[in-house]
C-alpha cells in the first residue's frame, strides 16, 4: 500500500487559494479601511490567523459535509482576471434596484459603495445608513465591539473579517420606528471576489425592515458577512435575497444577537448562483426573545444550495420558529441543516422547526437534517422534515377540473413556493420575491393570478 499522502485536487485548490490570500495580505492590508486603528487592525489579523489555521472548509468538516468549498470556490477566490482590459463588465441589473419599494437604498457594485445608485431619504435623528468602509475610515473605534463579536462565525466569516472592505452600516438608535424599508443591494458587474460586511445595530424599542439583496449575472465570488444586534425589545424584519447569475458563487453568513424581548423575523430566499451557502444564526442573549427564520430555495440544473441555521436558546422564555422550503429540479442539490440548542437553564423555551423539500426531478437531491440539542428540562421543542414529490391526488384533482398536466404541476409547484413567502409583511417586497421566484419556475399558466 502506498502510504504517501497524496493531496486531493480539491485540497490543492483550497491550499492554493489560502496561499493566494496570505500572499496578498501584506499588499492589500494597508489599504483596508480601519487599519490605522490598532483595534481594527488586530481584529483583522486575528481573523486571518483563524482562517490560516482552518483553511477553506472541506467535506471533512462536519458543518460543510455536503458543500465542499475547497474545490469550487477556492478556484475562483482572489483570482485576478489575467487581462483587466478584456474583463467583461456585465450590464447592471437595474430591475434589482426595486424602485417601487420606497424607503432607503444603499447600493454596492462589485463590493464598493455606489452613491449614484443609492438613495437615502430623510432620516430621524441618530439613524445612520451608510458605507461601512467610510465609517471605518472615520471612526473605527466606535464599531470595534460589534465587529469583534465572532460568535457563530465560520472559517469563511473569519476570511471576511480579515479582508472586509465595504458594506452597509445601519444604526437605529433607541425608540425609533423606521416605517420605510432599507434596501441593501449588492450588484456584481465583473468577475471579482467581493467580501461585503454589513453591520446592523437596532436600539431599544426600535423597529426596522431590512433587505439584503444580491443580484447580477457576473461570475462573482461573494463571501458576505452580516451581523445584527437587537437591543431590548427591538423588532427587526430582515430578508436576504440571493438572486445572482448562474456563474456566481455565494457564501454568506447572517448572525443575529438578541437582547431581552427582541423580535427577529428573518427570511432567506436563495434562487441563483451555481453554489450558494447561507449560515444563519440567532443567539438569545436575554429572556423572552423571539426569532422566526423562514427560507425558500429554488434550484435547477446543477445548482447547489445549502442553508445551515443555528438558534441558541441561551436564556429562558425564548420562542423560535423555523420553516424552510426547497424546490429542486434537474440535477440540483439542496441542503438544510437546522440546529437548535437549548442551553442549561433556558427554561420555557419553545422551538419549532420544519423543512420541506419538493423534488421535481428524479436526479435532484435533498439532504435535510434537524438537530435539536436540549439541555433544559422544561421546554417545548418539535421538528419535522419531508422530502417528496408533487402530490398525485392534488395533480389528479386539478386535471379533473381541466388543467393540463403541465399546468397542474406548475400551479402546485408555485403554490408550494409562495406559501413560504406568506410571512413577509412588506407587501411590495413580497411581490418582488414572488416575481423573482416566478422568473425561475416553469410556467404553463399566468400563475401570478393564483393568489
Amino acid at each position: 500500500m502506498n502510504t504517501a499522502v497524496r493531496e486531493r485536487p480539491s485540497d490543492r485548490a483550497g491550499r492554493e487559494a489560502l496561499e493566494r490570500a496570505l500572499a496578498a495580505w501584506p499588499a492589500i492590508a494597508p489599504g483596508l479601511p480601519g487599519m490605522h486603528a490598532s483595534g481594527i487592525a488586530k481584529l483583522r489579523e486575528n481573523a486571518l490567523a483563524r482562517f490560516r489555521a482552518s483553511g477553506f472548509p472541506t467535506a471533512r468538516d462536519e458543518e460543510w459535509k455536503y458543500t465542499d468549498l475547497s474545490a469550487l470556490t477556492a478556484r475562483s477566490f482572489m483570482q485576478v482576471p489575467g487581462d483587466v482590459q478584456a474583463a467583461t463588465t456585465e450590464p447592471l441589473p437595474h430591475h434589482a434596484l426595486f424602485d417601487d419599494l420606497g424607503g432607503h437604498r444603499l447600493a454596492f457594485v462589485d463590493g464598493r459603495h455606489a452613491p449614484e445608485l443609492s438613495s437615502i431619504g430623510p432620516l430621524p435623528d441618530g439613524v445612520r445608513i451608510e458605507s461601512l468602509g467610510a465609517a471605518l475610515l472615520r471612526d473605527p473605534a466606535a464599531l470595534e465591539t460589534w465587529l469583534a463579536d465572532s460568535r457563530g462565525h465560520s472559517a469563511m466569516a473569519a476570511l471576511n473579517a480579515a479582508f472586509m472592505a465595504d458594506g452597509a452600516l445601519v444604526i437605529v438608535p433607541a425608540a425609533v420606528e423606521l416605517a420605510e424599508p432599507i434596501h441593501l443591494v449588492f450588484l456584481g458587474a465583473t468577475a471579482s471576489t467581493v467580501q461585503p460586511r454589513n453591520l446592523i445595530v437596532v436600539g431599544e424599542h426600535s423597529k426596522c425592515t431590512l433587505i439584503e439583496h444580491y443580484a447580477g449575472s457576473a461570475p462573482t465570488f461573494t463571501n458576505a458577512l452580516t451581523q445584527a444586534f437587537l437591543a431590548r425589545d427591538a423588532d427587526v424584519e430582515y430578508c436576504k435575497l440571493q438572486d445572482e447569475g448562474e456563474r456566481a458563487l455565494h457564501v454568506g453568513g447572517t448572525h443575529v444577537a438578541q437582547a431581552q424581548g427582541s423580535r427577529f423575523a428573518g427570511h432567506s430566499v436563495s434562487l441563483g448562483a451555481s453554489l450558494a451557502r447561507h449560515d444563519v444564526t440567532a443567539i438569545f442573549d436575554g429572556e423572552r426573545c423571539t426569532a422566526t427564520l423562514d427560507g425558500l430555495y429554488l434550484a435547477g440544473g446543477r445548482q447547489h444550495v445549502d442553508h445551515h441555521t443555528r438558534i441558541d436558546h441561551a436564556q429562558p422564555h425564548g420562542t423560535s420558529r423555523e420553516h424552510f422550503r426547497g424546490i429542486l429540479d434537474g440535477r440540483s442539490r439542496g441542503v438544510f441543516n437546522g440546529r437548535i440548542v437549548v442551553h442549561p437553564g433556558a427554561q420555557q423555551s419553545d422551538a419549532w422547526l420544519t423543512s420541506r423539500n419538493l423534488l421535481l426531478s428524479a436526479d435532484a437531491e435533498a439532504d435535510t437534517k434537524p438537530q435539536l440539542e436540549i439541555y433544559a428540562d422544561d421546554v417545548k421543542c418539535a421538528h419535522g422534515a419531508t422530502v417528496g414529490q408533487l402530490d398525485e391526488n392534488e395533480l389528479f384533482y386539478l386535471r379533473s377540473r381541466g388543467f393540463d398536466a403541465a399546468a397542474a404541476r406548475s400551479v402546485l409547484t408555485w403554490a408550494f413556493a409562495r406559501s413560504a413567502l406568506d410571512a413577509i409583511r412588506l407587501a411590495p417586497l413580497r411581490a418582488h420575491l414572488e416575481r423573482a421566484c416566478l422568473d425561475r419556475l416553469p410556467q404553463a399558466l399566468p400563475l401570478a393570478e393564483l393568489a
Binding site: 398525485e392 377540473r401 393540463d404 403554490a415 409562495r418
Partner: protein, 258 residues
C-alpha cells in the same frame, strides 16, 4: 338523441387486483342513474376510471362518451368535454385559492368550446349567484381549495364547481357521505337544480338516503365489480330494507344468468 355514455365489458385493476370485472351501462341524456353497492364493490373505482385516474389500469372493455372513445383521453380533456367528477374526498390544495381553481376550470372549458373567457367581474357575478344557491359564504372562495373546510363545506364546494361548469355528464361519488340532514338537503337541491334534458348524472352512493331527495330514473347494484341488478328507484328501497347481504347472496346467480 345518442347516449351520453356507453360502457361495454369494462374491466379494471389496481396493482394486478381486479376491481371492475365486466361493467355494462348505457346512460342517455336527461337520465339519472344511481349506482349502489357495498364497500369494495368497485363503485368509486368506476367513477375514477371514468374521470381518467391513472392509478387504475383498464384491462378490457370500451367506454364511449358522446359517441367517441373516452379511455384514450387525458383527464383534463374529459373535463373540458363536459365530464365532471364530484370527489368522495375532495382534495385540499394549500396555496391555491378556490376562486382561482373555479375560474381556471371554467375558462378551460369555455376555451375548449370556443367561447370567450369570462373576465373577473363577470366571473364573480356568476359565482356569487351559485354560492347563494349552495348557501355558502363568499369568503370560502378566497380560501385555499378545500383547506380547513368542514366535511359539508367540501361537499358543497364540489356541487358549486359542478353548477359553474354545467357538465354534460356529472358523476357524483358519495356526494352525501358525512353530511347532516340540512347539508344533505342543500347538496340535493344543488344536484336537482342541474337536472336537465341534455344532461346525465351518475350518482354513486352506499346508502339510499340521498335518493330520497335526488330521485333516480335507474338504480344499479354493483357487487364484486359487476352490475348484479338493475331496476327503478324502488330497487333502492328494497336494498335499504333487505341490506346488501341479499345482493351478495344473489350475485352468483345473477352472474350465471348472464
Amino acid at each position: 338523441m345518442p347516449p351520453i355514455l356507453e360502457i361495454r365489458g369494462l374491466e379494471a385493476r389496481v396493482d394486478d387486483k381486479p376491481i371492475l370485472r365486466g361493467i355494462d351501462l348505457t346512460v342517455n341524456p336527461g337520465e339519472v342513474h344511481a349506482i349502489m353497492g357495498p364497500n369494495g364493490s368497485g363503485k368509486s373505482t368506476l367513477a375514477q376510471v371514468l374521470a381518467g385516474r391513472e392509478t387504475y389500469a383498464v384491462t378490457a372493455g370500451e367506454v364511449r362518451y358522446l359517441g367517441a372513445d373516452l379511455l384514450t383521453r387525458a383527464p383534463e380533456e374529459r373535463a373540458r368535454e363536459g365530464l365532471f367528477l364530484a370527489f368522495q374526498y375532495p382534495v385540499e390544495i394549500a396555496g391555491v385559492s378556490n376562486v382561482y381553481l373555479l375560474k381556471a376550470a371554467l375558462n378551460a372549458a369555455r376555451r375548449h368550446r370556443g367561447e370567450p373567457e369570462l373576465d373577473a367581474m363577470d366571473f364573480l357575478a356568476l359565482v356569487r349567484g351559485k354560492l347563494k344557491a349552495m348557501e355558502m359564504p363568499e369568503d370560502l372562495i378566497y380560501r385555499s381549495v378545500n383547506e380547513g373546510f368542514s366535511g359539508g363545506e367540501k361537499k358543497r364546494n364540489e356541487i358549486l364547481q359542478m353548477a359553474l361548469l354545467e357538465p354534460k355528464l356529472a358523476i357524483l361519488d358519495e356526494a352525501d357521505s358525512g353530511l347532516d340532514i340540512d347539508a344533505l338537503q342543500v347538496v340535493a337541491r344543488g344536484i336537482n337544480a342541474l337536472r336537465a334534458p341534455g344532461r346525465a348524472m351518475i350518482v354513486v352512493t352506499h346508502y339510499q338516503r340521498l335518493l330520497d331527495y335526488v330521485v333516480p330514473d335507474f338504480v344499479h347494484v354493483l357487487s364484486q365489480g359487476r352490475i348484479v341488478r338493475s331496476g327503478g328507484k324502488e330497487l333502492a328501497l328494497e336494498l335499504e330494507s333487505r341490506g346488501y347481504g341479499w345482493i351478495d347472496d344473489a350475485a352468483p346467480a345473477a352472474v350465471r344468468a348472464q
